[in-house]
Symmetry: D3
Subunit: 250 residues, 6 copies
């Protein structure tokens, strides 16, 4: 019996051309996950912002029948760019990657897409939204309403639990991210980390933002736990699942 293999085929690039054609015809929703290779304290891996959304996307796909496009794991990293291990890309590069992939998905008949990034930096998200908006506007001129694109960070949902978890100002490599990675890939968590409060200047654009948080952390990773992480992840999965179902019906 081999039909147990079927549930694994939630990655778009595991399908054959024929299977992809059928999926497009069925109106299948696509999640396109993005992340970054970026310093996340001494305790978390550089790929922290990839691990989270890819896990969420896979779980949502298993529950809803949507597909997950191959992730793009490089992002625009402003505040962390001078820490070792951070690879930051140009605004134009990210815009073009997102624009090309959205265009191509639509050319293939995949009209409903969720762009979900684990990295939530402001420039990064604007590049993604700008690409989506240019695609949506252009398609609206050609054929109104057919194309629907959502752009979000899974962190948008995760931080909704911050108050409940008693970490109201938690951020980069803090309680929430550390907990989530502990729940997904515990073998990649290197020690407990160290609490720190990032205080970037409110308006000044500085050449050395890393001097505002030398440990590379914004929050308290020491109170993180796999249990908390599991709870957060479940919540995020539930919220993203709702978005997928909304697109499946709309």
């Amino acid at each position: 019996m081999t039909h147990t293999k079927k549930p694994q085929l939630f990655w778009l690039d595991e399908l054959s051309t024929k299977e992809a054609a059928q999926a497009a015809k069925n109106g299948t929703v696509i999640i396109f996950p993005l992340g970054s290779v970026e310093e996340h304290g001494d305790h978390l891996p550089l790929g922290t912002d990839c691990i989270q959304p890819e896990y969420i996307a896979a779980e949502v796909a298993k529950r809803t029948g949507c597909l997950v496009a191959p992730p793009f794991r490089y992002g625009i990293c402003n505040a962390t760019r001078n820490f070792p291990g951070t690879l930051t890309i140009q605004f134009d590069t990210l815009y073009r990657v997102a624009h090309d992939i959205l265009s191509e998905l639509i050319r293939n008949g995949f009209y409903r897409i969720i762009v979900m990034s684990g990295h939530a930096g402001n420039s990064h998200m604007v590049a993604l939204r700008l690409a989506a908006q240019d695609i949506v506007t252009k398609n609206d001129e050609l054929c109104a309403g057919k194309v629907r694109i959502m752009v979000l960070s899974d962190f948008d949902f995760a931080e909704e639990l911050a108050t409940e978890l008693a970490v109201p100002d938690d951020g980069h490599a803090g309680t929430i991210e550390t907990s989530r990675v502990m729940a997904i890939k515990p073998e990649l968590v290197k020690g407990k980390g160290k609490a720190e409060k990032r205080q970037l200047p409110r308006f000044e654009v500085v050449a050395h933002p890393e001097r505002c948080f030398p440990g590379g952390v914004n929050g308290d990773p020491t109170v993180a736990s796999a249990e908390k992480g599991k709870k957060i992840n479940e919540y995020v999965i539930g919220q993203v699942e709702k978005l997928v179902r909304q697109l499946q019906m709309g």
Copy 2:
């Protein structure tokens, strides 16, 4: 005992910032794998060109101590672009992705890099080589000889066995690729495929190259086997290992 986990840390984004700093200081070689989301007959998955180089890179990393950067799984696909499931990106997009990542690796002190693509289309490879050349030339002006970059397709090595395997004209989704995927991810091979000979016009640039091979195959997948695949993969691993060792010494 947890030291068994150590061998898994060959992915660059599994390291922490400190570990990445140390790796750069050690002169660690980086392999940057690329692929495509592209029709590969009815029997192979769209991600065939990702599966192969990522597997090779991981095996070489285990043997040599080099690191593997997160893959970029989108490529320039000319001949297959009109088959369902193919997502082709612009030349400039690929150039920029490669240029940004190479620049950032070098900014981080990783001076020895192998860019290895599973997809071997001509425009695709030229975009990668052009990015590498611009980086090498610029760095040569600043500091001669420090930066060394190789650009290749793992298929360059794989097809060296074509004669031995009695499939001299084998290509896209043919005996070699099918065998290799059968050896790496057999659960993603959907049936035996069908032999076909692609005959693109030699000089004319056509709007519908897919009409020259309606089955999307160039070669004979029906004579593929996991055994052949294993043999090819071992050979490719050995060849890439040699390149890494050459950079480690140089």
Copy 3:
């Protein structure tokens, strides 16, 4: 007696070349105001986002001796782009304008600059911050610490009074903006306006955001007053004045 004219010379382009050279030598701070030509309900003029920061900049200049560069009155307007009268420009265009002007100010020896936009859209602000960051980073490589640039919206300060004014969710063309324009250019306020709550989708990027607030207002302009506006403006002037003094000393 003509020395009463002197206080008017806070606009950079009112200086002669010699006066500009002297001002640069003196370390004079420059404010570069930006805005947009954009629907602001039926009661406010399209230039609402220009009127506010230009007034603030002029007042701050009178008090601190800083200079104000000629404003750029065109911005990136996403949510309002389909209302009559909105002129929205491309991301690249705004980036280039900001990049060129910052570069040229620095080439002229004006190293301390406040980029202050009346329009506070997210893409708009990212374009400005990105330009500033590229300038700061490049200059840091050449000559660390000499160049200092702040990027803000005067609305960032204005909305700090929202709770005190009992309009916590006030926004586009609402109580705050209407009050401020009533205080600065009452002759351009056309009636009382109509309260409305904008509810853009949280994640979906839509072709017709104007359908989410057909009146083009987010807030309650009917409770606005020139008195409130004066109070807000004074507060904003005070805050921007602090930033200028900070740069004058730093």
Copy 4:
């Protein structure tokens, strides 16, 4: 009685969204004024090329009912670029600003536009004409003849009086410009200036054009007068008025 305010509403950005919609429906002509921030001798302000066309545009608007879009006060300044106070922008930047604003005016239904620059440098004017031509050609493909755009410098008209004023070779910061500013903003004229003859090489493209006229003047400002300026301005207003009327009828 407040109807005396109406005449002031000749600036496009003083209109509300509804008023802008009505103006477009009425076929209202738009003047888009441009200038530069540029050395103009020791006696004239950097914004000399803004002061002139903005004054002309306002006067023409009062007489014809056309509207004036917010000015763009930054230009391409070749010969003066190394004098203090000159801010010169890239060719592409000016092209994009002009292209975006013309496109957006047309998207709003304003099909008749006069682009009028106070700065008349050759590259500067070509950038504006190129943008206009690309817009006109594209619109001609879509809907022949609807869009009409004129591109000019108000100096094109002003220098028609040069012979009559006995200053045949007058140019940058000379008799004509000085007189015009004396008539419009006398409080910004700083002394009488000094006569000078600019002799740029005819063909060689030099790095230091400022060495060809160290005083930054091409002409004789010492014979300027407010009276002459008034006469010139009236003439220019009359000529631009004719262009507007031509577009209003056509």
Copy 5:
């Protein structure tokens, strides 16, 4: 009698506007020749890659009635770029030149075009093919099948004789090229040259490829002869003639 002049009019730019209109109406095939200014050993001129295709194009035109567009004699030269006399252009520049000229030929009604380059570098050929492909794809969307473009190097045909000439690995400035120039422009051949084997690294992208063949030759020019050259040229002419006839009929 002047009709003997007629046969010379195979250059497109020798026609008048009326003659060009007529040629387009007749479905005339256009050959667009390209080359490079590039080191070719001490014995061959920099323009070797121009001389060959321009001669071929002219001969084919005389035999078939096709036209030859003005050549573009600058190319992308990687391996030879550091030798004196090599002028290498950017990838984007070549792409744009080819794209503009193909677009303009098609706008003029010349729908059948052969892009033939004497320089056959990989990046160079990809830039040409990419331009052709973008044109063909776009025109296919508008009007399927009307536009037909071939992209080739005349060297593709020339090297088919390599085995017959007993120079199997002949390349840059070797037997074939030297012979061909001896047959076309013997007065530009400066001595016999020197045999050399170029051994560029297979994968490494190097800053100094010229160190791999200090004489700038890949092959043996010493066995070249005008006779061989004549034979090769005749063969190439025949093959290109076939392509033209194929387009004339198709």
Copy 6:
């Protein structure tokens, strides 16, 4: 005796790499000729603007020992773009071609360059001057005064004889151009042409400039003669010779 061949070697691409190295070392001046493929009435060939400067450049080279780079025969043609046979290229394309070639000449040690275009359209000349200026400015930062570039049209000199020839308003395809081609390539002149006065609108940018001179001529070709052409050409040769000598000494 073969030294009679030497005088022909005024084309840069006729030199070998060694000869080019020597020429650069000698400080040899380079002329880079440009033109256009463009309607020139019914009587002149499309390449009229190439024939003239290439002839001038060759003659000047013979007299002064300067070299001529391969011409670029495609230009920006605004007014004639809708006539059959006109191939007009993008502003950016011409800028990049000029920028690349100037950069490469300088990289090769050719520091004194005359860019001479037969086509004298305004956008066309600005693209050339802009490229030259960017090169000169950049090189001035690196090494002041070494690089010298002149940009001109040979028509700038030719029209200095217009009064003497009694054709004061002569222009495109008129007396001067027709006479010059009659003197250089009489076999390409097709009949006498027809006099016409082009009256483009002074300010309006129109989609159909060809309607302002349906015959495609601005001037009177019927009074042209080879004699006049010879005289004009001699004059232009003399003037360009002076420029070369000026650079040779400077």
